[in-house]
């Protein structure tokens, strides 16, 4: 009798391991499609930022994550309704890597996350102010599944608890049908703008103890037909 129970338990364990392996190596979930904006002829506003919390002005979360809030004494989001959320305040740079404004990113783990489909979803919103130009609101759903598979898990597997390499991925998967974010203009030259955007990450180092060590984010925002390009933008092109 005992050997049958042991066999059943061993079988369940092996089956569970096989299922987890199947989910992890699921080739259908490993897509990293080309951004529709990268093959567009539209005018694209490109904004970059450092995705390393210690490079930010403020980064805060529930205080229990591996990625620690910055600065050290910032209030943490420990209350139950906001404990799955994080806020990043950072300088955003233009395509020449010069400061252009301030970006505030709100992120919350999404209840639509389905690991079976290779979806580790985060609902996020950017509140961006470009000095002397105006403000934008960007709403998006991001999928961190590939980021977890390619960077976070290998960092845990590494004997040095560290990952190094080059990884680039589009994080935005919605709400637009083509996997784009929804952009709404607020003030200045962006007033009335209704457009699309895509956010991408480029990581080169990740530590299990600190989180991202070298990682940059870039927002590509379609501004065609809605705003006039400034002289500096025109010169860049």
């Amino acid at each position: 009798m005992i050997k049958y129970v042991a066999g059943l338990l061993l079988g369940i364990l092996l089956g569970a391991c096989a299922a987890v392996t199947l989910l992890y190596f699921n080739p259908l979930a490993a897509r990293n499609p080309l951004s529709p904006l990268s093959v567009s002829n539209n005018e694209i506003l490109s904004l970059g930022y450092s995705a390393v919390p210690t490079d930010s002005i403020v980064y805060t979360n529930n205080g229990e994550s591996r990625v620690e809030p910055h600065p050290e004494k910032v209030r943490e989001l420990w209350e139950a309704p906001i404990r799955h959320s994080a806020v990043l305040v950072t300088v955003v740079n233009n395509s020449r890597n010069m400061p252009a404004g301030i970006g505030i990113k709100f992120s919350s783990d999404s209840e639509r996350t389905r690991l079976l489909n290779g979806e580790a979803l985060v609902d996020s919103a950017w509140h961006i102010h470009l000095v002397e130009r105006g403000s934008l609101f960007v709403e998006q759903t991001e999928n961190y599944w590939n980021f977890l598979r390619k960077i976070v898990v290998p960092a845990y597997w590494s004997s040095a608890n560290h990952w190094k390499g080059v990884w680039t991925g589009n994080m935005t998967v919605g709400p637009g049908a083509l996997g784009t974010a929804a952009v709404s203009g607020g003030t200045g030259e962006f007033a009335g703008l209704e457009s699309e955007a895509v956010e991408a990450l480029r990581a080169s180092a990740y530590s299990v103890s600190q989180g991202p060590v070298a990682m940059e984010g870039r927002l590509a925002i379609d501004v065609t037909g809605n705003i006039e390009l400034t002289a500096s933008d025109a010169a860049e092109r």
């Binding site: 299922a19 004494k73 996350t113 919103a125 607020g186």
Partner: protein, 202 residues
């Protein structure tokens, strides 16, 4: 024995896949919304931010005591006219339900403005732009520019006002609170009404 092992293997495989499909990975905690129906249609909701206890950050140039301590606001002159604040947001029952940013832009190139983004994880996010000057010296009224999830189909106004604490003398009591009152109505309400009327007459 082999049959038991195979049965267990299949059970483990199917069980894990079923668990991955059905069990929620993320379960956002929800406070009940405190919403009232306005007499002329639409919903009214009030949000509060106790000052200084709910303030997470004040980003502005040349602060003697930055909030939080250790904050480094960019030294570039470009940011002299920008002030960014982050807050925790409460409902009228005094429960924290979200986070918010308030951005004040003072520049020569564009019209001065005050902007709010309220992020309520279990419900959605909305973005409001207001004029820099209060309409009657007390209330600043802005327009809903964009919303996500629950707030996506909405349009309406948001009123901001400062309410000083004149009652509680306790040393730990807040100085007062910022009150945000939303008055939203579904953007497609007219379409819905027309279709309902058509269905009623057909």
């Amino acid at each position: 024995m082999l049959k038991t092992l195979i049965f267990g293997f299949l059970l483990g495989l199917v069980g894990t896949v079923a668990a991955a499909y059905y069990l929620p990975v993320v379960d956002q905690y929800r406070e009940s919304s405190v919403i009232s129906v306005a007499p002329n249609g639409g919903n009214t909701e009030s949000f509060r931010i106790n000052i200084p206890t709910d303030r997470i950050m004040v980003g502005a140039p040349r602060q003697a005591e930055p909030v939080p301590p250790g904050l480094h606001w960019p030294a570039d002159e470009l940011f002299d006219g920008v002030r960014v604040e982050l807050f925790k947001v409460r409902n009228t029952r005094d429960a924290v339900i979200g986070v918010a940013s308030r951005l004040v832009a003072d520049s020569d190139g564009i019209e001065d403005s005050v902007e709010w983004v309220l992020h309520l994880p279990a419900r959605g996010t909305f973005y409001v732009a207001m004029p820099a000057q209060a309409a009657d010296g007390v209330n600043r009224v802005g327009t809903l520019r964009a919303g996500t999830r629950e707030f996506r189909p909405m349009q309406g106004k948001v009123t901001e006002r400062w309410v000083p604490n004149t009652f509680d003398d306790d040393a730990d009591a807040p100085d007062g609170y910022i009150e945000l009152v939303t008055s939203f109505v579904g953007a497609f309400a007219d379409d819905v009404t027309e279709s309902a009327l058509q269905e009623g007459t057909s």
